[in-house]
C-alpha cells in the first residue's frame, strides 16, 4: 500500500485509502474463559460492601413504598394530593416516567439487534433487566390510581356476572394492553437471552441447590448448533416483534393524552415526541446504572469507552429531538390560532408563576445540558456523563409533570384553577419506587449474569470462522466477506 503511495505511477486514480481498524468491542484481547470468569464471578463471589450499602436502604425504601400503598388503601385516595382540577397528578406522572425508562432495554435488545449494532451485547442484559423493573414500578401507579385496587382485575377482559366488558374504544384500555404486552414480551425476550448464560452458570456450579436452580431455568441447554439455529431464529423474530412493540407502547401512552380534548394534550406530535423522550430517558438510566457497575465489578474491558460514547450520542440525538418537539409544540399552539391552546402554553411557560419553573427545569435538563455531548471529551469523561444522565433522569420527570400536572392546573374553567400540592404520601411513594427499582436491580446483579456472556463471546474476532489471526491490519473480515471483489483489488495493489 505504501509503495503505491510513494512511487509515481502511470495510473492517476488515487489508491483506495486504507480501511481503519474498528475499535475492538472487548479490550485487551480477552479470552472466552476470562469473559466467563469475570461475569460469572460477580454472581459467584461475595458482593462488595457497597452492594450491601445500597441494598439495605433500598429494602427500607421498598418498605416505605409498601407502607404508603397500605396507608392509601386503608384510608382512601384523598391521602394523595389530587384535588380539583388535577386528578391525574403524581401517580400518572410517575407512571409515564417509569414506563419511559423502561424503553431503553427493549430498544437496545431489539432495534440495535436488527440494525446489527454489535456493541449492544455488553449492555443489553442489564438494560433489559432495568426495563422489566421500571415497568414493574410503572404498573403500580395506575393500579392504585383506579381507587379501589381490589377491583383492578376489571381491567382484564374476563367474563363477569355483571356482563360488563371493558370499553375497547378507550385509550386507557389500549394502555392496559400495551403495557401488559410490553412487560410480557420483555420477560420472554429477557428469558430467551438468559438461557445459554444460565447454562454457563449451571456448568460452573458445584452440585447443590444453586446448580439445581440454574439448571432448572437453563432448561437443559446443550449449546448444540441444532439448538442455536432455532434459538437464533427465535431471537431474531422476537427482535422483529419487539421493534414495533417498543415504539407502540409509548405511542399508546401518549394516546391517553392526545385523544382527549384538553388543550396542551390534544396534539398529533405526541406519539413520536413521547417515544423519543422515552428512549432518551431510558438510555440515561442505563448509563446511570452501568457506569458504577463497570467500575465496581471491573468490567471496563467489556463496557468500554466506545459503549458509553455511543449511548451518549443516542442521548444527544434523542434529547435534540425532544427539544425540537418542545419548540414545535409551542409553535403549533401559536400557529393553530386556537386561543385556548396558546393560553395553555403561555401559562405553562410564562404566566403561571407557581409552576413555570418546572418547564425551565425540563427544558434545561433535557435539551440544553445534553448538548455538551457534541464534544468527544465530554462523552469520554465519566463524571460529565454521569452528571448529564442525572440531569436527564430528573428532566424527564419534570417533562411528565409539565405535560400532566401543569396543564390540568390551569384548564378551561379559571374558576377552578388550583396549583397542585403533593402530599407526603405522594412524595414517599415515588421515592419508595426508586428503592424498589434499586432493590430489584441489585438482586439481579447478585443472582444473574449482568452481561450476556454468550453474546459477548460471539462478537470477539476469534469467534468468526473465517478469522485470520495474522491478517493485514486495517482490513475487516466482514469487509472481506461482504465484498469479495474488493478483497481481490486490495491484494492486487498491495
Amino acid at each position: 500500500m505504501e509503495a503505491t503511495a510513494t512511487t509515481p505511477s502511470t495510473d492517476t486514480t488515487p489508491s483506495e485509502p486504507r480501511i481503519l481498524d474498528r475499535e475492538p468491542l472487548v479490550l485487551n484481547n480477552r479470552s472466552y474463559a476470562w469473559i466467563s470468569n469475570r461475569i460469572c464471578g460477580i454472581v459467584e463471589n461475595k458482593q462488595p460492601a457497597l452492594w450491601w450499602f445500597l441494598f439495605l436502604p433500598s429494602v427500607v425504601l421498598t418498605g416505605i413504598m409498601a407502607f404508603c400503598f397500605i396507608y392509601l388503601i386503608s384510608t382512601g385516595v384523598g391521602v394523595w394530593g389530587q384535588r380539583t382540577p388535577v386528578y391525574w397528578a403524581w401517580d400518572i406522572t410517575n407512571f409515564v416516567f417509569w414506563i419511559g425508562i423502561g424503553h431503553a432495554g427493549t430498544l437496545i435488545s431489539a432495534i440495535l439487534f436488527l440494525t446489527r449494532q454489535k456493541w449492544r451485547t455488553s449492555v443489553n442484559r442489564a438494560a433489559e433487566a432495568m426495563t422489566l423493573f421500571a415497568v414493574m414500578c410503572a404498573g403500580l401507579f395506575p393500579a392504585f390510581h383506579v381507587g379501589r385496587v381490589w377491583m383492578v382485575w376489571f381491567l382484564a377482559p374476563i367474563p363477569n356476572a355483571n356482563a360488563i366488558w371493558q370499553n375497547f374504544k378507550s385509550p386507557l384500555l389500549w394502555d392496559v394492553f400495551a403495557v401488559s404486552t410490553y412487560f410480557t414480551v420483555s420477560v420472554v425476550f429477557w428469558f430467551i437471552g438468559l438461557i445459554p448464560d444460565l447454562a454457563t452458570l449451571r456448568d460452573r456450579c458445584k452440585p447443590g441447590l444453586r446448580k439445581h436452580l440454574y439448571g432448572f431455568f437453563a432448561l437443559g441447554w446443550r449449546g448444540g448448533n441444532r439448538q442455536w439455529s432455532h434459538y437464533e431464529t427465535a431471537y431474531m423474530l422476537l427482535a422483529a416483534l419487539s421493534t414495533p412493540l417498543v415504539l407502540s407502547v409509548h405511542s399508546v401512552v401518549s394516546f391517553d393524552f392526545a385523544t382527549s380534548v384538553v388543550p396542551g394534550w390534544h396534539t398529533t406530535i405526541f406519539p413520536p415526541y413521547f417515544v423519543a423522550g422515552a428512549i432518551f430517558g431510558g438510555f440515561a438510566m442505563v448509563l446511570t446504572l452501568m457506569i458504577p457497575c463497570r467500575k465496581i465489578y471491573g468490567l471496563e474491558d467489556l463496557i468500554t469507552a466506545k459503549h458509553i460514547d455511543n449511548m451518549a450520542k443516542i442521548i444527544l440525538l434523542t434529547g435534540t429531538i425532544v427539544g425540537y418537539a418542545y419548540c414545535m409544540e409551542f409553535f403549533m399552539a401559536y400557529y393553530s390560532a386556537n386561543k385556548f391552546e396558546l393560553q395553555t402554553f403561555m401559562l405553562r411557560v410564562f404566566w403561571n408563576r407557581e409552576s413555570a419553573w418546572y418547564y425551565y427545569c425540563m427544558f434545561g435538563f433535557n435539551v440544553l445540558v445534553p448538548q455538551v455531548f457534541w464534544f468527544r471529551a465530554m462523552r469520554h469523561n465519566l463524571f460529565a456523563v454521569m452528571v448529564v444522565c442525572m440531569c436527564v433522569n430528573a428532566g424527564m420527570w419534570y417533562e411528565r409533570y409539565v405535560i400532566i400536572v401543569t396543564t390540568l392546573e390551569r384548564h378551561l374553567i379559571p374558576g377552578s384553577w388550583r396549583t397542585f400540592d403533593a402530599s407526603w404520601v405522594d412524595n414517599w411513594t415515588f421515592i419508595g419506587t426508586f428503592g424498589f427499582f434499586m432493590m430489584l436491580f441489585l438482586l439481579f446483579l447478585r443472582f444473574l449474569p449482568v452481561i450476556a456472556i454468550g453474546e459477548v463471546k460471539g462478537v470477539l474476532p476469534q469467534s468468526d470462522p473465517h478469522h485470520e489471526p495474522d491478517r493485514e491490519p486495517g482490513v475487516q473480515e466482514e469487509d472481506l466477506m461482504d465484498y469479495p471483489d474488493r478483497h481481490v483489488a486490495k491484494t492486487a495493489t498491495a
Partner: protein, 199 residues
C-alpha cells in the same frame, strides 16, 4: 459388587477454535453423518451451512400464532362492542357472550368503529407471536428436559465456557466404535471420548 449397565451415546471430540470446528463440521457433513451436532458457547456464523442444517421452520409457527392473536382481538372486541356479527347473520355468536352494552364516547356501534380496535389487535398479535416464538422454539429444540446422555461426559461442561465439541451419536447409521473414533481424530479432534451414561 453391583454392575452398571451403560448405554453408548456417541463420540465427543474437542476442537481448539471456532475455525477448526467449522472446518470439522464441513467434513462430518460431507462424510454423510446424520445424527450429530456441534456444541459451542455461542452461535457460530455460517455453521448451519457448514453442518447442512436447513432453515428453522419457526417463522411459520409464529406467523400463524400472530394471526391467531389478531383474530382473537378482533373477535373479542367486535362481539362485546358492536353489532357486526348480527349484521352478517351470525348473531348467535354474540349470544354466546353475555354483554351489557356500554354506549359511550359517541362512537359507532357497527363495524366502522374498527379503527378504535387497532391498538388492541396490534398488541395481541405481538403477544401471541411472542408466546409462539418461545414455546415453538422450545418444542423445536426439544427443551426443557431434565437430563441428556451427553451430560455424562467429563469434559462436556466446557461447552458453555470455551469448549468447542463435535458429537456423533451412536444412533447414526454410519457410526462404528472404531471408525468414528478414527474419523474424529483424523479431523483434528482432541480428547475423543466415548460418552456412555448409566441406565
Amino acid at each position: 459388587m453391583s454392575t452398571t449397565l451403560k448405554r453408548v451415546h456417541g463420540y465427543l471430540a474437542e476442537f481448539d477454535s471456532v475455525k477448526d470446528l467449522y472446518h470439522a463440521a464441513e467434513k462430518v457433513r460431507d462424510a454423510g453423518y446424520q445424527r450429530w451436532d456441534v456444541h459451542s458457547p455461542f452461535p457460530i456464523h455460517g455453521m448451519d451451512h457448514a453442518m447442512g442444517v436447513s432453515r428453522s421452520k419457526l417463522p411459520w409457527f409464529v406467523f400463524f400464532g400472530g394471526l391467531t392473536g389478531t383474530t382473537v382481538a378482533f373477535t373479542l372486541q367486535t362481539i362485546t362492542q358492536t353489532n357486526f356479527w348480527g349484521s352478517i347473520g351470525l348473531g348467535f355468536l354474540e349470544k354466546i357472550v353475555e354483554t351489557y352494552p356500554t354506549v359511550v364516547q359517541g362512537k359507532p356501534t357497527d363495524i366502522w368503529t374498527l379503527p378504535a380496535f387497532f391498538p388492541v389487535m396490534f398488541e395481541l398479535t405481538i403477544l401471541f407471536s411472542a408466546f409462539t416464538t418461545l414455546f415453538g422454539m422450545l418444542a423445536l429444540i426439544g427443551l426443557p428436559r431434565w437430563n441428556h446422555p451427553i451430560f455424562a461426559s467429563k469434559q462436556f461442561h466446557k461447552f458453555s465456557d470455551d469448549g468447542f465439541f463435535v458429537c456423533i451419536e451412536a444412533r447414526d447409521p454410519q457410526f462404528s466404535q472404531e471408525g468414528t473414533k478414527g474419523f474424529l481424530e483424523e479431523l483434528g479432534g482432541r480428547n475423543v471420548e466415548l460418552v456412555e451414561d448409566a441406565i
